[in-house]
């Protein structure tokens, strides 16, 4: 059982973070914050442009983290990016195709693409198969996505979610097809593979910044400010702990 004091510390942390996100979202609407440049997003912008211009498709993979598991946050971030990408390419002949290795995520990707479809001016019927479940185990999911990458005129593949070693198969398929790959994961083993194999990589928590960098909304931007605050809070705690430990106080 979690000790009460620890639970309260956690609760306060969450409440303060949530309040700060909301407050900043309201207060900084007129002066939106500036963030460091991340080259991967510039490249993604070009890839989106090319896809829309040459009528090819974008592929976004949400990974295989369970919807009711602690790994789902990466997929939720991926869904924000999917919504934005779908809107940006809404007038393209080919809407993006989303793949997932978890049934819940597949349904969410369908809903996200559907809402983007409704918001667009496209009058063609929505194709629910643009949000797909390609497999229910990590490697079957990756293996099921391989044919999509080679058969469906994909020009850019965006991997945002929870992956494992199987992500190596996806990046190799991308490379074989000569398509642009932007990848990010919360899993360290996946990141290690992507570091070597992905054309563009978002490291660690940069995955969760995709919404802010894709202009998904003020709460996304205020999230990054709050993350920065918490980051320095943690750093100060570590430095204090180090000093106190060496001093023998702790």
């Amino acid at each position: 059982m979690t000790p009460l004091w620890l639970g309260l510390v956690g609760l306060v942390l969450v409440l303060v973070s949530g309040g700060a996100m909301l407050g900043l979202a309201v207060l900084r609407r007129k002066t939106p914050p500036t963030f460091r440049e991340i080259a991967a997003f510039q490249r993604l912008q070009d890839a989106i442009g090319r896809a829309v211009e040459d009528g090819s498709r974008l592929h976004l993979s949400l990974g295989r983290g369970g919807l009711v598991s602690p790994q789902n946050a990466s997929a939720l971030a991926g869904l924000s990016a999917l919504r934005r990408l779908a809107s940006l390419t809404s007038a393209s002949d080919n809407p993006p195709v989303a793949t997932a290795g978890d049934a819940g995520l597949a349904m969410l990707s369908q809903e996200t693409l559907y809402s983007a479809h409704l918001a667009s001016l496209v009058t063609t019927a929505f194709d629910p198969t643009t949000g797909r479940l390609t497999g229910l185990t990590p490697f079957s999911y990756a293996a099921g996505a391989l044919p999509i990458l080679s058969d469906e005129n994909i020009s850019a593949s965006i991997l945002l979610g929870n992956f494992g070693p199987e992500v190596g198969l996806l990046t190799e398929a991308d490379e074989r097809q000569g398509m642009f790959t932007l990848a990010a994961s919360d899993s360290l083993s996946a990141q290690a593979i992507l570091y070597a194999s992905a054309e563009e990589l978002l490291i660690g928590e940069e995955l969760f910044a995709s919404g802010a960098y894709l202009n998904a909304g003020p709460l996304h931007k205020s999230s990054l400010i709050v993350q920065d605050w918490l980051r320095w809070l943690v750093i100060v705690a570590l430095l204090l702990g180090f000093v106190l430990k060496l001093a023998g106080v702790l």
Binding site: K30, I48, V52, S120, L121, E175, L214, P218
Partner: protein, 703 residues
């Protein structure tokens, strides 16, 4: 030679130029400078001819919308030919309903009641996909939770909005649609785009998309009194239901923001159409917020001044802005520099044509030939008032735009042939080097000089210390793809357990776990000739992640199916004899390829205070070692075996009769050494290649 500074980009231009050679903004008024005597009278209607002329000029041939005419029908009708087929179908009567729905959905996105028929107009002159992009102009808006929008409502109210202000619905959008409005971005109607573009041409305000960002001149209006301020200021507060007849003035913002947010600068057409800011793409990093300081919202640029003056002109007239069609308001700043003709109002004053095709018609042509009496335009300063920072920003903006114009050279994918050849060579060498020792039973591993690592030694000591026939709980938490490694890594430990006569209870938090457990235990049973059923019981899959593990640790037997007639009760089986609760187990072994799963077991065991009662040993994939080792270092587990290397040490320490790791080890070592060689040589080769290919690029840059 005298120079004129462009009011838009501030660049010097030759005096004789009509338009700026950098941003194509107009440098000179379209009409001749009017005589000083003229003044504008309150209550005068704006002129059709000059404004439409001006609009045509300013929009580069864009269609004008005469005063007093319902703009939507005319515009879309004239655009008919330019529209894509699917949009033309929108105009068919029988598809009005579909159009309605489309408008409703778009309104759902934008928060603006959208005239469906006018929908196509924004694409005029833009690549049609931009229309879809435009739909995102106000995505920030929708981002805030609905209840939070209420807060903005209050903020808006503080800026002078009567709380009772009721949004006015557009005829084409039903009340039901309004209920659904959430405030997402959408392409504005034609005349809004027109007004937005016109404002851009004359340097009108260009808010960055947040609805409460009032254009500068609009906020000035607020000060002039509630009669005018209220309807305008309603834009931020009730943006979700802003009626579009009103949005012409207030909605220069979305009309402008739509292309701004949506048009990535690589769309050349869009760049030609839109002012430089419009070329900035949707990405936050591409439109850094300092750009907002370039915008007239700061009230520093002449454009803002002009906008302010134009509004002052509006204030002079006793026409409530609400009564003006939006496009007229958009024309306002322009009208300030346009000559005006006093039109005879009564029929008598109008002259009748006596000859020609217009014979007999009255008041067809203006009574006064030429431009007639013109009023003095308010004085304009063509000097751009910008401070250094803004100049710097402008320079950076120019860089951005230039950079966007240059076609980006995509990283050339490797030639398929060469890439495949490299793959095949790697595969060939790998299969040969790894396969040979396996095929010939070759043993090249030499002597192991190192002592057994303490984590592996600790694991083997825990197993050695088990009482005979002790019940052991084993979690098979890895995916089948990693079974090859995990079965090799855990082989020695599992063998050791069976030699100690351990009775296994198998569980898994992975759906494939039950099969993996059967598979692994079955293979061990084959090598050691015992019946799996006598020595192990498979409890199956624990769903729910951490919560599932927590429940299981609280009461392991609760996961067994209820006793049924004719079916032997597993509670009475050998593996479970003497086991009532978790603390009855002598050891918990977790086989996992995922640090997250390992963490769950460690944390739940610690949380339930079971760590002192049941020892915990983990066998992990080599990839998870760096994440799992800290738990061993902090004594949250009693032993750790990672990968084939760990198994090999375990095997050597325990000296089991049947070795499972050793036969793999030679192939493993040779494979690793081969890869080390390939990476070293290939890495250096590619590094040199990349370095050499950089040189020409660098030289190009210098040139």
């Amino acid at each position: 030679m005298a120079e004129i500074r462009c009011p838009m980009c501030g660049k010097p231009n030759p005096e004789e130029r009509e338009t700026c050679s950098f941003c194509q903004a107009r440098l000179k008024p379209l009409t001749a400078p009017p005589p000083a005597a003229s003044t504008i009278r309150a209550g005068e209607e704006p002129l059709k001819k000059p404004t439409s002329d001006l609009e045509r000029a300013a929009l580069g041939g864009g269609e004008s919308i005469p005063a007093g005419q319902e703009p939507t029908k005319k515009n879309t009708a004239e655009l008919e030919q330019a529209l894509p087929a699917w949009l033309r179908s929108l105009r068919q009567g029988e598809e009005d309903k579909a159009a309605e729905e489309l408008a409703a959905e778009s309104a759902d996105e934008t928060g603006l009641p959208l005239p469906s028929a006018a929908q196509p107009a924004p694409e005029e002159g833009l690549p049609d996909w931009l229309a879809g992009l435009g739909a995102q102009a106000q995505e920030e808006e929708e981002e805030l939770p609905d209840w939070l929008a209420g807060i903005r409502g209050k903020i808006g109210a503080e800026t002078g909005i009567p709380a009772s202000e009721e949004p006015i619905t557009h005829p084409l959008v039903g009340a039901e649609t309004l209920d659904r409005l959430e405030g997402e971005g959408s392409a504005p109607p034609a005349y809004e785009i027109a007004s937005g573009r016109m404002e851009a041409e004359i340097g009108g305000p260009q808010p960055s998309g947040g609805e409460e960002e009032l254009p500068d001149w609009l906020s000035k209006l607020e000060e002039t009194g509630p009669a005018e301020a209220a309807p305008e200021a309603a834009a931020p507060a009730f943006g979700e239901s802003l009626p579009d007849w009103l949005s012409g003035a207030g909605e220069a913002a979305p009309a402008e923001a739509a292309p701004e947010a949506a048009a990535p600068a690589f769309v050349m057409g869009a760049e030609e159409e839109l002012p430089p800011e419009s070329a900035a793409p949707v990405f936050a990093m591409e439109t850094p917020d300092w750009l907002s300081s370039l915008r007239p919202a700061e009230g520093q640029t002449p454009s803002a001044e002009r906008a302010g003056e134009s509004q002052a002109g509006m204030a002079e007239e006793e026409i409530a802005p609400a009564e003006l069609p939006s496009w007229v308001q958009a024309m306002r700043p322009v009208e300030a520099v346009v000559s005006e003709v006093e039109i005879p109002t009564t029929e008598e004053e109008q002259m009748t044509e006596s000859e020609g095709p217009l014979a007999g018609l009255r008041g067809v042509l203006p009574a006064v030939p030429g431009l007639g009496a013109v009023r003095k335009p308010p004085p304009y300063s063509i000097k751009l008032k910008v401070d250094e920072a803004q100049q710097r920003y402008a320079a950076y903006l120019e860089q951005l735009v230039k950079r966007e114009n240059q076609p980006r050279r995509p990283t050339a994918p490797p030639k398929a042939g060469a890439a495949n050849l490299l793959r095949w060579l790697i595969a060939l060498f790998l299969f040969l080097v790894v396969g040979l020792p396996l095929a010939g039973g070759l043993r090249l591993d030499g002597v192991n000089q190192f002592l057994t690592p303490p984590d592996v030694a600790a694991a083997s000591d825990v197993v050695s210390a088990l009482p005979d026939n002790a019940p052991v709980l084993v979690a098979f938490d890895y995916q089948p793809a990693l079974a090859g490694e995990l079965e090799a890594a855990a082989g020695p430990l599992m063998q050791h357990l069976f030699y100690r006569g351990a009775r296994l209870t198998c569980v898994s938090t992975h759906p494939m776990g039950p099969a993996l457990a059967e598979h692994f235990v079955g293979r061990l049973a084959e090598t050691q000739s015992f019946q799996p059923a006598d020595r192990s019981l498979n409890l199956g899959y624990l769903a729910g992640g951490a919560a599932g593990v927590f429940d299981f640790l609280l009461d392991p037997l609760a996961y067994l199916p209820p006793p049924a007639e004719g079916v032997p009760d597993p509670r009475q089986s050998v593996p479970l004899s003497g086991v009532q609760e978790l603390s009855d187990y002598a050891l918990l072994v977790v086989l996992t390829d995922d640090a997250e799963t390992g963490r769950i077991w460690v944390e739940q065991m610690t949380a339930l205070g079971l760590r002192d009662e049941v020892p915990l040993v983990m066998v992990v994939s080599a990839q998870a070692e760096p994440m799992m080792r800290p738990y061993y270092d902090s004594h949250q587990m009693d032993g750790l075996v990672s990968g084939l290397a760990g198994a090999r040490f375990y095997e050597q320490r325990v000296s089991l009769p049947l070795q499972t790791a050793a036969p793999y080890w030679s192939a493993f070592s040779l494979g690793l050494l081969l890869i080390v060689a390939i990476l070293a040589v290939g890495g250096v080769w590619n590094a040199v290649h990349a370095w050499r290919s950089r040189q020409p690029a660098a030289e190009e840059k210098e040139d």
